[in-house]
């Protein structure tokens, strides 16, 4: 099967949707000059539909909402997750709430691409992983595909969705290659994927921690521990059925999440499983998250704060060795 990089898959999704629907427009800082590698698109579409943005994140995030309310389907490239903070009021007060406060009279079919650029020496103010903050805003759909095939399928679904969708792209995955069928395999928003089947421990990964979890699962198999790896890929809504089903089988859960530990996505998953499937658990739930510190510039310190395959392996082993708490 044909292989694409993750970023090429995102590009293809945008081209296909722009070709089939002339209400789709692209907006972003530096998109005409293709600063981040998704492509400039100017050779294919009019300048009117490829909008370079001034450095005014608040106005631009809001302008996409207004355009979406009146017939366009904008796709906004936010450049880096940390820049989304500048426009946070628009995300919270407008993007997530307009449909609700108008009792459904206004629809907001807008897509925001928010790349996560951490563990790359870009410093404390460019390395944030803020998706848990966005999970606090009902009304948004939040996805984080990790394979090129899912990236294409979910990006296309996001553009076609009548609700606002934020696509968190872990830039670690941007250059990864993988098979992409035409059309890509179905990956509906709101579903998780079982990336590797196993029996002893469930490991839920988000973004690049899925790759780390898969690497850990390979090592653990050599030690006789069978880990099931779930690629969460949709942060809102979360596919509880897939997570619960896996935990009912394995009785053990590790959640790997590069967000800061406090109120992370991992926290929500751990709490919800403890609340709703306590009787299935044979060991405490473990979170493998970032330490609650800033991301320092120097690689000598930065690497230590994030989840990696070794930390996931250690967490899995620690719960795999635990006897059942209940019997």
């Amino acid at each position: 099967m044909r292989e694409l990089t993750y970023l090429a898959a995102i590009r293809e999704a945008q081209i296909e949707e722009m070709t089939s629907d002339d209400t789709v427009i692209l907006m972003g800082q530096d998109i005409r000059a293709n600063l981040y590698g998704t492509g400039s698109f100017l050779d294919m579409f009019s300048e009117e539909r490829i909008r370079d943005l001034p450095t005014s994140e608040t106005a631009c995030v809001g302008a996409a909402v207004g355009a979406a309310m009146t017939g366009l389907r904008p796709v906004v490239d936010m450049g880096s997750a940390s820049f989304s903070f500048v426009a946070l009021d628009q995300f919270i007060s407008e993007v997530s709430k307009i449909h609700y406060m108008s009792a459904g009279q206004l629809k907001v079919p807008v897509t925001y691409r928010i790349p996560l650029m951490y563990n790359g020496g870009v410093g404390v103010q460019h390395s944030d992983r803020p998706y848990p903050m966005f999970m606090q805003m009902p009304g948004l759909k939040l996805i984080c595909p990790t394979t090129p095939s899912d990236a294409k399928a979910m990006m296309k679904a996001a553009i076609r969705d009548d609700d606002p969708v934020i696509v968190f792209e872990d830039t670690y995955n941007w250059s990864s290659r993988g098979p992409v069928a035409d059309p890509p395999a179905s990956a509906p928003i709101g579903t998780a994927a079982i990336a590797r089947e196993g029996d002893d421990v469930t490991v839920v990964g988000i973004g690049r921690t899925v790759a780390f979890a898969l690497a850990a699962a390979g090592e653990l198999a050599d030690s006789g521990v069978s880990a099931e790896v779930i690629d969460l890929r949709s942060l809102a809504p979360i596919d509880w059925d897939t997570i619960f089903g896996s935990v009912e089988k394995t009785g053990r859960l590790v959640v790997a999440d590069a967000a800061v530990s406090t109120c992370s996505a991992a926290s929500e998953i751990a709490a919800t499983v403890a609340e709703h499937r306590f009787e299935a658990l044979r060991a405490p739930v473990r979170r493998v998250t970032s330490l609650p510190v800033h991301s320092p510039y120097t690689p000598a310190l930065e690497r230590a704060i994030y989840p990696d395959a070794g930390k996931i392996t250690a967490a899995v082993l620690s719960v795999a060795k635990q006897a059942s708490h209940g019997n």
Partner: protein, 339 residues
């Protein structure tokens, strides 16, 4: 739409604006009575004293134009001709409200008459308004967006980003600053760096004009000129209407005194409804006709109050509705139970 009118048509359209001013005033008075008698929750942001700005600017808008407003938005859906019953029901949080009780008095809109949306975070609606204008430009729809904000919001970064973006893209939008002199309790004379907020238009290479916000004709003329410019593809304009709210920032939100009582009194004496009625009489409108309008508006508002009061609240099961356009998500996940 006041251009090229015969003298008679001009007077007729002025009578029309006066009717809208009256509808706004009586609507707000009725809502205040409902608040004081305990029939509605929260607070009320009244348009009292600012009706001429709303009626004048609304009269300048085309039938397909869009208004993006603020927390003080009661007047716009009314002046655009919205049905008062569902508007009053929204204020009371009823199921029959124009937004089924989801928006409430700070988000009083009626998209069906072009009072499209309002944001109650200061300045936050302007980026959205730039977006509706962007869609008009891309779709060549001819629609102009009217975006209102106050003197307080004029100091928000979102306002300045929005004006710049609208200017570089030459978008069909009119920025209307309703300068009522106070951001809640803080005077514009203290908090705003310029005497006329309209002067800030120069920073974005667009025209900035000041209009007398007590005179609906002056406001209509200024907004009409700006609308014509937007409609001709020449980009945005800023109109500053100098006005005054003769009531507090919000009913049910008491504060220490923050403005001289003589100042409030002097504006009350120049009440725009009274002065504009006087002008209509001078222009030859019969007092009997205006009395009849008073009576009609009174009956219309009374019927709206009755409709709103008699309407049911939303059922508890309506809680999850309208969270998403995707109906499958408008209920708790089947695998979770919420206490």
């Amino acid at each position: 739409m006041a251009r090229m009118q015969s003298p008679t048509d001009a007077v007729r359209s002025m009578v029309g604006m006066w009717r809208q001013m009256l509808r706004i005033r009586r609507f707000d008075e009725a809502a205040t009575r409902l608040l004081r008698s305990g029939q509605m929750p929260g607070v009320l942001h009244l348009t009292t004293g600012q009706e001429a700005v709303v009626a004048g600017s609304s009269a300048a808008m085309g039938p397909d134009d869009l208004l993006i407003g603020t927390h003080r938005n009661h007047g716009y859906p009314v002046a655009r001709g919205g049905d008062l019953g569902p508007l009053m029901a929204e204020v009371l949080g009823k199921a029959t409200g124009v937004c089924q009780g989801r928006g409430g008095e700070m988000h009083l809109i009626d998209p069906s008459v072009g009072a499209f949306f309002s944001s109650a975070i200061l300045g936050s609606g302007l980026p959205v308004a730039v977006g509706t204008a962007l869609a008009s430009q891309v779709q060549r729809s001819g629609r102009v967006t009217l975006a209102t904000f106050g003197d307080g919001a004029s100091n928000e970064g979102a306002v300045h980003e929005s004006m710049n973006l609208a200017a570089i893209w030459k978008l069909p939008i009119v920025f209307l600053c309703e300068n009522n002199g106070y951001a809640v309790t803080v005077p514009a004379s203290y908090a705003v760096s310029v005497r006329d907020i309209a002067d800030r238009a120069a920073a974005y290479s667009m025209p900035g004009t000041v209009a007398d916000g007590s005179d609906p004709v002056a406001v209509r003329e200024a907004v009409q000129t700006a609308r014509d410019r937007a409609s001709a593809g020449q980009g945005p304009s800023l109109v500053e209407a100098k006005t005054y709210r003769t009531v507090d920032h919000a009913e049910n939100l008491p504060s220490q005194p923050y403005r001289p009582e003589e100042e409030v009194e002097s504006w009350r004496k120049r009440d725009p409804l009274t002065s504009f009625r006087g002008r209509l009489l001078q222009d030859g409108v019969a007092a009997g006709e205006l009395d009849k309008i008073e009576q009609e508006v009174g009956e219309e508002v009374a019927a709206a109050v009755k409709f709103a009061s008699d309407s049911p609240f939303p059922e508890p099961t309506a809680l999850w509705e309208h969270m998403y356009a995707d109906q499958s998500l408008n209920r708790p996940a089947a695998s979770l139970s919420w206490p």
